[in-house]
Symmetry: C2
Amino acid sequence: MRSVRIGLLGFGQVGAAVARAAGAAQERVRARGLDLVVICALVRDARRPRDLDADAPPLTDAVDTFLSRAYDVVVEVLGGTEPARALVTRALDRGVPVVTANKSLVAAHGAELRALAARRGTSLRYEASALAGVPFIDTLARRPLVADVSRLSGIVNGTSHYVVTAMEAERLPFAEALERARRLGYAEPDPSADVGGRDAAEKLALIGAHVGAPGLSPSAIETTGIDTLEPGDLAAARRLGGAVKPIVFAALEPAGITAFVGPAFVDARHPLAGLEGCANGLRLEGRYVGDLFYSGPGAGPDVTAATILDDVVETMTATGGWAGAATPASGPPCRPPDTAWLARLDFPGDVPDETSLAEFLGAYGVWIRRADGEARGRVRRFLTSRASRARLEGALAAIGAASGAETRAIRVLEA
Amino acid sequence: MRSVRIGLLGFGQVGAAVARAAGAAQERVRARGLDLVVICALVRDARRPRDLDADAPPLTDAVDTFLSRAYDVVVEVLGGTEPARALVTRALDRGVPVVTANKSLVAAHGAELRALAARRGTSLRYEASALAGVPFIDTLARRPLVADVSRLSGIVNGTSHYVVTAMEAERLPFAEALERARRLGYAEPDPSADVGGRDAAEKLALIGAHVGAPGLSPSAIETTGIDTLEPGDLAAARRLGGAVKPIVFAALEPAGITAFVGPAFVDARHPLAGLEGCANGLRLEGRYVGDLFYSGPGAGPDVTAATILDDVVETMTATGGWAGAATPASGPPCRPPDTAWLARLDFPGDVPDETSLAEFLGAYGVWIRRADGEARGRVRRFLTSRASRARLEGALAAIGAASGAETRAIRVLEA
C-alpha cells in the first residue's frame, strides 16, 4: 500500500467534498494500492468558525506552513487566478504534481503551467475544470486522431442551463428563475460569471487548447449573457423546431477559428437540444472519428471531488508519459462565425405583415427562413438566413428605426 | 523522431483502413514524435487477388515469416477468437504490445491476455472493440471512481440499430430493412451475430469487466435478436412515450448482477432514445459521478482504424503504468432483471376489451400500465408493470391458451 499525501489549497465546498470523498472512496482506491490522506489544507482565515467533520484535515492560513509539508499531490480548489497561480507554480516548481478544477486558472495560465510541469518532470491535471463529471480532456490530450476536431459545440455552464430550463418549464422571467437557482444552490451569490458567459468562455478556451485551437483568450471570444431571454423566446424556439440553450461553439478551419459563447437556438436534432437542468454536454465533430457526444453533470461539489480524486489516482499511477505538455502555447486568433439567427421584434404600434417584413429585411440582406406562426400581440419571432452579426444588426437597426420596434437576436446552432 | 514498426494481423477492410490511416494521419502523429510504419501484414492467403494501394504493406500468409520480424506494436484485425488468440498470445509473450478491435477475443479471453501482458511488462489495448469511435474503456480502467457504476445501458451494435431505425422510418419489415443494410454495407453477408445479439452480448461482457462486473460470459447473458420486431411495434412505442432500440443493460447491486441484451422499449427521456441509424451510445449511472452518456460511431473501417491508431500512439507514449491489468478475472454470476414489458397480442378472432384483458392478466400478476390507444385490427399492445420473465410469460401463455392469440413481449428500459 502506497501512502498518498495530499495537500489541499482551499477548504470551501469543493475542498471539504474532496476530503469527504477521500474517506468514502477509500476501499476502491486501496484496491489500486493507494491510501489517500489529506494531511493539510490552506485557507484564507484558519480562525473563521467552520462546521468541520471530525476527520477534517488540519487547516492553516500560513502559506509557508502549508508549503513546509511534503506532499505527493497538491489539489487546488481555491478558484480564481490569484493566489491560485502563484501557489500552483510553487508546487510544480518543486516537482510536486498538481490536480485542479479551476478553469479560470487553466484558461489564463494553462500553457505556462503545463510547460513548467513538463520541465520539472511532473504533471498538471484538470479533468474537473470543464464538464466536471465527464472525463474527456486527458483523452483528447493523449489521442491525436480523436482530437482532430473541425467543430465543437457544448453546454458547459450548469447555472445558465438550469436557469434557461426553469424559465422554459415554468414560464419564469429570467430574474425569478435565477433567484430559484440561487435558493437551490445552482447559482452562486454573485452569478455574473455564470449567467454572463465568462465561465463558459474560459471553458471553451480550455477545451480549445486540446483540439487544435490553443491560445484562445476568453476575453477575445464573443460572449453574450442569458439575461435578456424571455420565456416567450423559449416557447417560440420549440415551435420553430429547436430549443434555446446556453452554448459554446468553435469551428476550426484552415482559414482560421470562429467561436462564440451565448444563448443560441439549437436545432432539435442536435444532441445538445435534448439536455436539460444542470446537465453539461459536448459535441465534437472530428475529421477521423466523426461525431462524438459526451454529457453528464457539469458541477457540484461531490461530482467535482470524485473527478479530482480520479485525477489524483491517475497522477500516482501514470508512472510516465503525461500528455498535457503536448498542448502548444498559442494559436490563430478567433472571430465570431456567420450564423443564422433567431430574431425577436417587439413593435410599439402596428405590426407589418410577414411579406412586408420579409421584403424590408431582404433589402438589408437578411431573409426570413421560418417565422413563428403563433405570434402573439406585437411580438414577431423568426429564424433568419445565415448572416454576419454586422449585417444582421444593420437589418434590425433599420427595422427598428423605421418602426420603433425593439429588436433582439440570438445565434443559431445547426444540427 | 521515433520509428514505430507495426505488424498487422489481418488485411481485410479494417486492416487496409489502418494502413491508409497511418499514411493520412502521418503529420499529426509525427507532431507527437512518432513515425508509424506498417512493415508487414499476415493474411490467410497471400496469393488471393487483392486490390491493393500502391503503398500497401508486404503481405505474407506464413506465421513464422510474420513473427520473424521485429515490431514495436502488433495490431490484430483478424476478428474471431482463433487464430487471433494464439497469435496475440505469441506477441504478448515476447513483450510486444498489442492493439486490437476484436471484441470477441477480448470478451472471451481478455482477462488471461491482460494478465499475460502485465507479466511481460507490456500492454493490450482495445478501445475500438466497443463503441469503436468513442474512447472510454481506458478512461474507466484508469479512473476508479467514475468506474464505480451501478447501472449501464447502451446501444452497441450499429447493424441492429440501423435496421431498427430503417424499419421505423420507412415502415419496412425486418427482412427488407436487413437487406437494405446489407446493400449499404451496414450489415455483413452473415449478419446473425449482429441481429441475433451475440455481438452486443460480447461487448456488454467486455464493458462489464471495467465497471465492476468482471467475468461475465456472453453466453450466460439473456440475449434476444431483433428479428421478431414489426414496424407496428416501433410506431406503437412512439405513441406510448418511447422508442424500440437494440439494448444492452446491466445493473450491479450488492445482491448480484442482472443483465439482458435485446430489443427494448426505451423511455423517451432516456438519452439512448434520441439516437438513430448506426450510432452507438452508452449511459453509465455511477455512485460518485452520477449520470454519464457517451455516443458516437460504433463501427466502420475508417473510424475503427483511427481509434486503433490512437491506441498505437498511447501504447508508444505511455512509458509506464498501463491500467488494463487491474481488471479481475472473474466475478459474480448474472441473471436477467425484472423489468416492465411491452407486450403484443395478436388475436385470431374476437378481441377482448381492455377491462377484460386487464382483469385476466391481473390474475396472473401482470398489470397493464399503459395501452396503445390506436390499436388496429386484432393487435393490442401495452406496457406492463414490472415482472419477472417467468411471470410475464406465464400470463401471456394463459391469454394465448384462452384466446388463441399470438403473444410477444420485449423488455422496458426505464429513463
